[in-house]
């Protein structure tokens, strides 16, 4: 096993440094996405070693004002219970609500279970139920692509800008990577709306509170990105929508 992994380890060292590129990068990320524990562990150790590059430098102290600004920001972004927003009405709301609810009720239960690690359970549950009740909510199936062809998901999306994503069969993101969720409006750049984490069973959920766009959303996608990437997608797409469910 160790011999089999010599070439992966060689690539893993350069990957940890951030210098792997081209086909080697694609191959290694595909290998990582397969869930190789040996390479995950080796990457973890290598990243700890690379921290020596700046850990032993004379450490610089930032201005005290920076800490004050950070605390000011987190105070202003304090989590508040999701408001129950007034919903639009329509002629077909009963049929749509029934269809969507029947199709996703199992995913709701699973999604709420997994989401409770990150958000208060009752808040997420209430928010998802409200989404399902709203006739303006659409259900977008997500299909696995790139390194994770067997992954699946659903994206509940409301024109108010609120949504909820469930994923399944999506392996945990490799060390140093995250699954970034994007919404894409007509002729607009992808908009980062959050990060979704999956458990050992490959399941996860994320609630999106408010992502407004003047243009209607057309596509929803999940990409595998280096941790912290929010400006624009750079990594492989792992899940993508192909339009709302019929």
């Amino acid at each position: 096993m160790a011999t089999e992994h010599e070439s992966w380890r060689a690539q893993g060292e350069i990957y940890a440094l951030g210098a792997l590129d081209g086909q080697e990068l694609k191959d290694f990320e595909t290998h990582l996405a397969s869930g190789c524990q040996i390479c995950e562990a080796y990457l973890r150790e290598t990243r700890e070693a690379l921290m020596l590059l700046h850990r032993a430098m004379p450490q610089l102290e930032p201005s005290p004002a920076v800490k004050a600004k950070i605390f000011d920001r987190i105070e202003r972004e304090n989590v508040v219970p999701l408001p129950v927003k007034p919903r639009s009405t329509g002629r077909r709301w009963q049929m749509l609500t029934g269809t969507i609810a029947a199709g996703v009720i199992g995913a709701v239960i699973a999604g709420v279970f997994y989401s409770k690690r990150y958000e208060p359970r009752h808040t997420v549950y209430t928010a998802v139920v409200n989404l399902l009740r709203d006739p303006a909510t659409r259900d977008y199936p997500l299909y696995g692509t790139g390194p994770t062809p067997t992954a699946r998901g659903r994206f509940l999306w409301n024109e108010s800008g609120e949504g909820h994503i469930f994923v399944s069969n999506l392996p945990r993101a490799p060390e140093g990577k995250m699954y970034a969720v994007w919404t894409i409006a007509q002729a607009a750049a992808p908009l980062y709306v959050g990060t979704i984490a999956t458990d050992a069973a490959g399941q996860g959920g994320l609630h999106i509170n408010s992502t407004r766009s003047e243009k209607p959303m057309e596509t929803f996608a999940v990409t595998l990105e280096p941790v912290g990437t929010t400006a624009a997608p750079t990594g492989p797409m792992v899940l993508v929508s192909k339009g709302p469910a019929a």
């Binding site: 060689a10 060292e13 350069i14 940890a16 440094l17 951030g18 210098a19 792997l20 590129d21 081209g22 995950e40 973890r44 150790e45 290598t46 990243r47 700890e48 070693a49 690379l50 921290m51 020596l52 590059l53 700046h54 850990r55 032993a56 430098m57 004379p58 450490q59 610089l60 102290e61 930032p62 201005s63 920076v66 800490k67 600004k69 950070i70 605390f71 920001r73 987190i74 972004e77 989590v79 690690r117 990150y118 060390e175 140093g176 995250m178 990060t195 984490a197 280096p226 941790v227 912290g228 990437t229 400006a231």
Partner: protein, 194 residues
């Protein structure tokens, strides 16, 4: 003027893990302690990569706001809290570097050694400010050829191919130097742990 302080090499990750757990539960006091503990490390990296104090402090803010929001996503099995935070910082710094490079039409990577030197001189003149730092002991223990490729990759966000072009060296040589340098760092880490 940038204040300097010496920090212990020991990671003390157990304490940091405990703090992260509390931060995930929105404990502001724990967040304050985590910031005090890790901010010099993040700021030092940010200064080394971005070279401007204002940019480095902006990055520091972004990183710790993200830590506050995503502390629940931290998984102890996948590395120390410091490594997780540094990974966030480095990813964000790389985003900024790439964004700056896209905007700055004058920034051109070249395979002409004289051109490369010229480019480095421009960077050096910027780095002559307070961001210019003393070579750290870990890097000082590496052969110059290994140190150079690690710095170009880790701090300047160049890929192996770009480094080979910059240094006019075969790609295989660059890979070998990178791996040898990393192996030395791994050995140093191991010897510290013993």
């Amino acid at each position: 003027m940038v204040a300097l302080r010496k920090t212990p090499v020991s990671t003390g990750s157990a304490g940091a893990s405990h703090l992260i757990e509390k931060v995930a539960r929105q404990d502001r006091e724990a967040f304050s302690q985590l910031y005090d503990r890790c901010s010099p490390l993040v700021f030092t990296l940010a200064m080394r990569m971005l070279r401007e104090r204002s940019d480095a402090e902006d990055l520091l803010q972004e990183v710790f706001v993200q830590v506050w929001r995503q502390a629940a996503n931290y998984n102890e099995e996948r590395g120390s809290p410091e490594a997780w935070i540094i990974n966030i910082a480095r990813s964000r710094a790389i985003d900024k570097l790439r964004s700056t490079r896209r905007r700055d039409q004058s920034f051109v990577l070249t395979d002409d050694p004289s051109g490369a030197e010229s480019s480095e001189n421009v960077e050096s003149s910027v780095a002559d400010s307070e961001a210019k730092m003393t070579m750290n002991s870990a890097l000082a223990n590496l052969p110059e050829t290994q140190r150079r490729v690690l710095e170009l990759a880790y701090f300047d966000d160049l890929t192996q191919t770009e480094i080979a072009e910059r240094l006019s060296e075969p790609l295989g040589t660059v890979k070998t130097r990178m791996r040898a340098g990393i192996q030395r760092l791994r050995d140093m880490l191991t010897s510290q742990a013993v």
